[in-house]
């Protein structure tokens, strides 16, 4: 057993040694140790280098407040975690850690040179320099600053671990399982309510774990809670308190296990909704601010007590204490009783509690009242301290190997503050405590300021006979913020504590100021000549301690990142080698390459097939809404620009939907199935939006209408058959519908059966050819598709994808909402003014069309473009100008919205929006690209079969 391990003490199991590696060196601790306690047991105090000055640092605390001992933990490929506090790492076999922010080694760190230059790096130095020469910022200064940045190793491999989540609902959530939290749980446990008690530590008990006299009580209490069905979660940190009793908490499931034995998810996010919340989060001890208070071996007194009682470790052999608060004495007494040498107890107060004095003298401890430590000695560990009576220059040196600080207690009010709870200044504590009320939430125990171990004084930095500007007295150890940095900030006019924080970075490190905020505030108050409550605190924000991204992202990754919606024909398309594209949440077949075809070749073939024979297209993703009720036609009449009332059952109509601002939102074909029933289609991406918009108007503007809306997008698989031979393909399989052009003309609708299953048949065309859209119940979709595919073989049927669909419709000048229109186009702009019912007095968006800007002649209008070079395909998004080679900024009058090579025409075609475009038809315009300007002729946005003769096949 090592020299610092105290036999018979602690909650560790010395019989179970645990081997671990620290900076490559093999060491041994005991089961139940943290990395911190194991290092101390091995006599290691030097555990890291500070952020800015690379100063050697040791352990300050024993819990999550630890600012210095940040480790990189390596659990195998992809499992490196940076900045983990040694005080929270549970020792296990094969634990591998390394220290950070040092090179080449912890003992010899070249970065420490910055410490020598530190006079040049006061707070805010970077605002004042690195400005000249101007170009050097990018080439020299910023790269250099960035090289110095950061603490832990940057990530480079993908974390193979899983993360999971769940929702919890409780009547009472208690955060913190110290005495206060456990008592609150006990009090509630008989009520039959659902009670949950969570604590971040591996064991429940809080401070009680450092108090062997209470261990029996603790064990009994935990048994009673268990018997009463209280849900007790350890290793579970409440990261934030949100609205209406919502608490986020993260449970660490595997990090305490040897990597080889860890299975299952690494962490679990608990989304807890609680009717009532008790915050029993305890209090954190405050360090003291004096020269070189950052030397390894300078620690919090309470941490030494925790190491002693919980881990059976002595933090030193000859320990000095600097106290301003009574609670430090208990630590000294406990250490002394454990046989650890006490060098002295230095107390800044002149008048000490007689009982403490008596106890100290009983134990033979030297007590030096009304004095302060003014410096520490040693290189990488403290070897002694200098102290001086207050106001005197008569310094004295004392040798020691650890210095404990007892500066009073700061209630852990983070979660209370997340909930916007008010804080009041408690003069006796020298800290802020929860004040006033909060819905659902109360505080108890040390968190509420109920801290009993005596009293103390709280000051800014300890007095020193030296010029305080001449030495470093650290406030924020992790960010290397000194008292003089804070005073400098105040001197430079940063008077708000929020400014001081941001100028000095006090409290902004990974510990978020758990040990530094209050001291920083005190120093600032001193410099400002204000009281601490006048200066106030900075804002507490979640998370309470740093929280793994993965735990918050949860299972939402890869295939589960978001649903990929697939149609029932997707598996067929996949088997045919389709290339897919994402459209909204759907994946759609884009084209079906054969052999070595590229997209252009496949699309050309698919286009020709449709124009000359027949093509087959999966249109299932189109949104569908069934609009039902006696007022269905009236409702559509109000929503859409078109007139609907006169549409006869069995007929279809193209519908155009505007926003109330007059701009195109969506379009689609709707069929009237019966007097009181319409089958309305929407764009693939617009389905949910359109239904939501319709519901909004129906429920809140026209609740008197008897109409109901149901999404039927997924009720039907939609198979489009397009081309002169489309009828031939379906005819053998259709029952109950006369497919002749007379009985079922363009824009007609019929119901019947196909392949033996019910069918809704639309005679519509988005290609300009004879076309049918066959809607069948989705479960039959694949079978019907396959039957028609088989039938189609005799007609040379070809499956086509969205890309071919785009080309075919562009040849016909049909717009795609969201591509050719972009949320700034009116129906007239898009050349579909014909779809607006001229006699209608109102519909959604109509009034906006009369606004001044909507009537201007230079609005952008949809036109066609034909390039001079028929082989050149314009780039979609390319801009259009009327004056070539104008200087920058070049006035632009429009842009290309759709552009393809048209296999039918054997040349390129494009759709575009152009200012005053319709009046420019026949004009030459220019499309300037980076390398070349292309000449184009403006045309009608219709390139093929102007008369529409092909619609009938």
């Amino acid at each position: 057993m090592s020299a610092f391990r105290l036999p018979g003490r602690g909650r560790i199991d010395v019989a179970r040694p645990v081997a671990f590696r620290f900076d490559g060196k093999a060491m041994t601790g005991a089961a139940g140790d943290t990395l911190a306690s194991a290092l101390l047991a091995n006599g290691v105090h030097l555990v890291g280098r500070s952020f800015k000055y690379h100063r050697p640092r040791g352990l300050l605390g024993a819990g999550v407040e630890e600012p210095n001992a940040l480790m990189g933990v390596d659990r195998g490929p992809g499992r490196h975690t940076a900045n983990v506090r040694a005080t929270t790492i549970e020792l296990h076999d094969d634990l591998t850690v390394e220290t950070q922010n040092r090179w080449p080694s912890l003992g010899f760190d070249l970065g420490a040179a910055t410490n020598l230059l530190s006079p040049l790096f006061p707070a805010g130095f970077y605002n004042k320099t690195f400005m000249w020469p101007r170009s050097a910022w990018e080439t020299l200064y910023e790269p250099a600053i960035r090289r110095m940045a950061g603490l832990g190793k940057a990530p480079h491999a993908i974390d193979p671990d899983r993360y999971t989540a769940r929702h919890d609902f409780v009547d009472l959530l208690i955060v913190g399982a110290g005495r206060a939290g456990i008592e609150a749980a006990l009090a509630a446990s008989a009520s039959g309510e659902r009670v949950m008690l969570i604590d971040e530590q591996p064991e429940l008990g809080g401070k009680l774990l450092a108090n062997p006299a209470r261990w029996d009580w603790l064990a009994g209490a935990l048994t009673r809670l268990d018997d009463a069905g209280v849900v007790c979660l350890s290793r579970t940190t409440a990261i934030g308190l949100y609205h209406d009793g919502f608490v986020g908490a993260v449970e660490r499931l595997t990090d305490h296990l040897p990597p080889a034995t860890a299975t299952g998810p690494r962490e679990r996010l608990h989304r807890i909704r609680a009717a009532r919340i008790v915050l029993a989060t305890g209090a954190i001890e405050r360090p003291l601010v004096f020269a070189d208070n950052d030397r390894p071996g300078v620690m919090l007194a309470s941490a030494a007590r925790t190491y002693l009682h919980r881990y059976g470790v002595a933090v030193g052999k000859r320990v000095a204490l600097m106290v301003t608060h009574d609670s430090g004495y208990q630590v000294a007494f406990d250490l002394a009783e454990a046989g650890i040498g006490i060098a002295a107890i230095v107390d800044s107060r002149p008048d000490l509690d007689p009982s403490l004095k008596a106890r100290a003298s009983d134990l033979g401890l030297e007590l030096i009242p009304h004095a302060v430590v003014i410096g520490t000695h040693g290189a990488k560990a403290v070897t002694g301290i200098t102290l001086a009576p207050l106001g005197s220059r008569q310094v004295r040196k004392i040798a020691c190997d650890a210095l404990l600080m007892a500066g009073g207690w700061t209630p852990t009010v983070h979660l209370w503050s997340h909930g916007k709870g008010k804080l009041g200044w408690d003069e006796a504590l020298g800290a802020f405590v929860p004040e006033g009320e909060m819905d659902r939430v109360t505080c108890t125990g040390a968190c509420a300021g109920a801290i009993d171990p005596g009293h103390g004084v709280h000051a800014e930095a300890l007095w020193s006979p030296r010029d305080p500007a001449s030495f470093k007295a650290f406030v924020d150890l992790q960010n290397d913020v000194t008292a003089r940095d804070i005073r400098l900030a105040v001197r430079e006019g940063f008077r708000s504590i929020e400014h001081i924080k941001r100028y000095t970075t006090n409290g902004m490190a990974t510990d978020q100021g758990k040990t530094s905020n209050l001291n920083g505030l005190q120093v600032a108050a001193g410099a400002l000549g204000n009281t601490a409550p006048q200066v106030g605190l900075t804002t507490f924000r979640p998370p309470y301690t740093p929280t793994t991204f993965g735990a918050l992202a949860g299972s939402a990754k890869d295939a589960l990142f978001q649903p990929t919606r697939k149609t029932v024909i997707d598996s067929w398309a996949h088997a045919q080698g389709a290339v897919f594209e994402n459209v909204a949440q759907w994946r759609r077949a884009r084209y079906f390459p054969r052999a070595s075809e590229d997209m252009d070749a496949a699309v050309a073939r698919e286009c020709r097939a449709v124009r000359t024979g027949v093509g087959m297209f999966d249109a299932s993703t189109l949104g569908k809404i069934e609009v039902v009720g006696p007022d269905a036609a009236e409702f559509l009449n109000r929503m859409y620009t078109n007139p609907w009332k006169a549409l006869a059952p069995g007929r279809c109509r193209y519908g155009l939907l505007l926003g109330e601002d007059g701009f195109i939102r969506d379009d689609g074909v709707a069929a009237r199935l019966a007097d009181d029933r319409f089958h309305v289609t929407t764009t693939t991406g617009g389905a949910a939006r359109v239904l939501g918009m319709m519901e909004d108007y129906l429920q809140t503007e026209w609740p008197d209408l008897d109409v109901w809306l149901t999404s039927t997008t997924e009720q039907y698989a939609v198979i489009a058959l397009q081309g002169p031979r489309a009828r031939d393909v379906i005819a053998p399989h259709v029952e109950g519908v006369d497919l002749s052009p007379e009985a079922l003309p363009h824009m007609a609708y019929a119901e019947g059966r196909i392949c033996g299953v019910p069918m809704r048949l639309f005679r519509v065309s988005f290609t300009g050819e004879l076309g049918f859209e066959v809607n069948v119940p989705a479960g039959h979709g694949l079978a019907v598709w396959e039957a028609l595919w088989a039938e189609g073989q005799r007609h040379g049927i070809t499956a086509y994808g969205t890309e071919t669909m785009h080309v075919l419709r562009a040849e016909k000048g049909y717009i795609i909402v969201g591509q050719d229109s972009d949320g700034t186009l009116t129906p007239d702009d898009a050349g579909i003014g014909w779809a607006v019912g001229k006699k209608k007095l109102d519909f959604v968006g109509r009034r906006s069309l009369a606004r001044p800007d909507m009537l201007l002649p230079d609005r952008k209008q949809l036109v066609g473009l034909l390039t001079d070079d028929p082989h050149y395909v314009l780039e979609e998004g390319a801009q259009i100008v009327d004056v070539p080679n104008a200087p920058v900024p070049v006035p632009m009058i429009g842009h290309v919205t759709s552009s393809y090579h048209s296999p039918t025409l054997g040349r390129s075609i494009a759709l575009a929006v152009v200012a005053g475009g319709r009046a420019r038809i026949g004009e030459t315009l220019f499309v300037p690209m980076a390398d070349k300007t292309h000449r184009v002729t403006v045309s009608e946005p219709l390139f093929y079969d102007r008369e529409g003769a092909r619609l009938d096949g």
């Binding site: 949100y242 609205h243 919502f246 819905d439 429920q699 007095l841 906006s848 606004r851």
Partner: protein, 104 residues
């Protein structure tokens, strides 16, 4: 995550089930043509955006599907009450006695 009392379901439900739908009690004009451009602009775009007591619409979109109204303090984010669509706009917090359709 807010907890919102749906006046139709008559129980509190998590925020993620709801869609926020903007300021409440802005009725669509019966005859939009009668409005001047400025009045139409007001209807379309101008909002109270109150700091404090705010009348707003929500839809229980992933629940019962209904739009309803709420009074919420936008500084604290706490709901004073929610009420069914069509119920008149409540007055001051303490003087209002209308149909709550479920008080939060």
């Amino acid at each position: 995550m807010l907890l919102i009392h749906c006046p139709y379901c008559d129980e509190p439900r998590p925020e993620i089930e709801f869609g926020y739908a903007g300021e409440a009690h802005i009725a669509r004009p019966i005859n939009p043509d009668d409005l001047s451009d400025a009045e139409w602009e007001t209807y379309l775009f101008v909002r109270t955006n109150a700091r404090g007591r705010h009348f707003e619409r929500w839809r229980h979109v992933h629940g019962c599907g209904r739009f309803f109204n709420a009074v919420r303090d936008t500084v604290t984010d706490t709901f004073e009450r929610t009420y069914k669509a069509g119920v008149a706009r409540p007055g001051e917090a303490d003087s209002w006695t209308g149909d709550t359709g479920g008080i939060v």
